[in-house]
């Protein structure tokens, strides 16, 4: 957690939307901006090129209201997806409290997804953060397209899981968002944990708030 300001009674949480170029990160934020009550959100800032590609970041503050005397705010950021913008992408991760990886479901974008995921792990490590220990969710976007890969393939490629070494956590943990699926499970004798995932069509808004709710609840849990 970044900062609790006891003087101004504010808690700010930083959520970063990460993923390959043209995957729908900015579209997620735009949908949130359009649907959240104007009194609960600030101005959306986009540092974009003339062709509307994110150059540095998009930023949208969302106000959760006052809880137990603290004003709680989520600061939503996107990073530029294009490979050559890594320097600015890495900067935005500084002080991150939760990460949403927005994957492009189209089969043709599988390599771009994998490359962006590896880049996320590398940049987090360089900041000294461990992605398996902070709130992290994956959104499979563009589920409406005919060339969308099956979820099982996307999961195998992007969310294969990481080993659970803590004996206290080595027990089945049902996935609250998908029946008969597990976030922690034993596979081939080994305990494995996966990030929660969400299906979305960001253009129409499907799944956008499910993802945001999921990640923000996990971030709030880290405050306790």
């Amino acid at each position: 957690m970044s900062m609790i300001n006891y003087a101004s009674r504010e808690i700010n949480c930083k959520l970063v939307y990460y993923g390959p170029g043209l995957g729908g990160k900015t579209t997620n934020l735009e949908h949130v901006y359009n649907k959240v009550a104007p009194g609960s959100r600030g101005k959306m800032i986009s540092l974009a090129t003339e062709t509307e590609r994110t150059l540095f970041f998009d930023f949208l503050p969302v106000d959760l209201g006052t809880i137990r005397g603290f004003k709680v705010k989520f600061h939503l950021y996107t990073v530029p997806g294009q490979v050559y913008y890594n320097a600015s992408r890495k900067l935005i991760l500084k002080g991150v409290d939760g990460v949403v990886f927005v994957a492009d479901s189209q089969i043709e974008r599988m390599d771009a997804n994998i490359e962006a995921m590896q880049n996320l792990y590398e940049n987090m490590t360089q900041h000294g953060y461990d992605l398996t220990k902070i709130p992290f969710a994956i959104q499979y976007n563009k589920r409406d397209l005919p060339n969308a890969a099956p979820i099982s393939e996307l999961q195998a490629a992007l969310n294969p899981g990481w080993p659970v070494t803590d004996p206290m956590k080595q027990r089945p943990l049902p996935d609250p968002y998908h029946d008969a699926e597990f976030l922690v499970a034993q596979e081939d004798g080994h305990w494995v944990e996966r990030a929660p995932y969400f299906e979305a069509v960001a253009l129409t808004g499907d799944g956008v708030f499910d993802t945001l709710k999921g990640i923000s609840k996990n971030v709030v849990k880290t405050l306790g």
């Binding site: 006891y6 935005i92 405050l223």
Partner: protein, 163 residues
Amino acid sequence: MSGASSWSFREEDAKRIQTILSGFLGESNARTALIVDRTGQMVATVGEAPAFDPTAFASLTAADFSANDQLARMLGESEFGALFHQGERESMYLADIARRVILVVLFDNRTTLGLVKLRVKAAVTQLTQVFIDMFNRDGTNAPGVESEFLGEAEDEIDKLFGA
């Protein structure tokens, strides 16, 4: 530390910072001094209340400073300890504090860059000590949030983002 390093900002910290910055504003004739943390959050504002959106301002300041940090490294410098943006009427001067927060000074033609730079040095030294004390303290006895906080926060998330 698995995630971002945490720190808390208390009433007494705010008072120390307020005292240092009020003194600095008086001596330099600058309008407003702001403290922004490097992750893009506003920590404190002293002096004339700014007319702009402070949240947006803080996120852009942090990005500005971080981008310039990287430019410094490309030139073989470890950092640019300070930045200056000059406008026709309004200007801003930014200085690093303890590598964790940024002091932003807003000033107009009632003063000069030279005077701001001259006076800011002492303020930076004092603020650095305040923040080093603050970071060293944290993790030991941070008060934390009340136990009911979590449930109420989840309810608010459902309300705001749709149940």
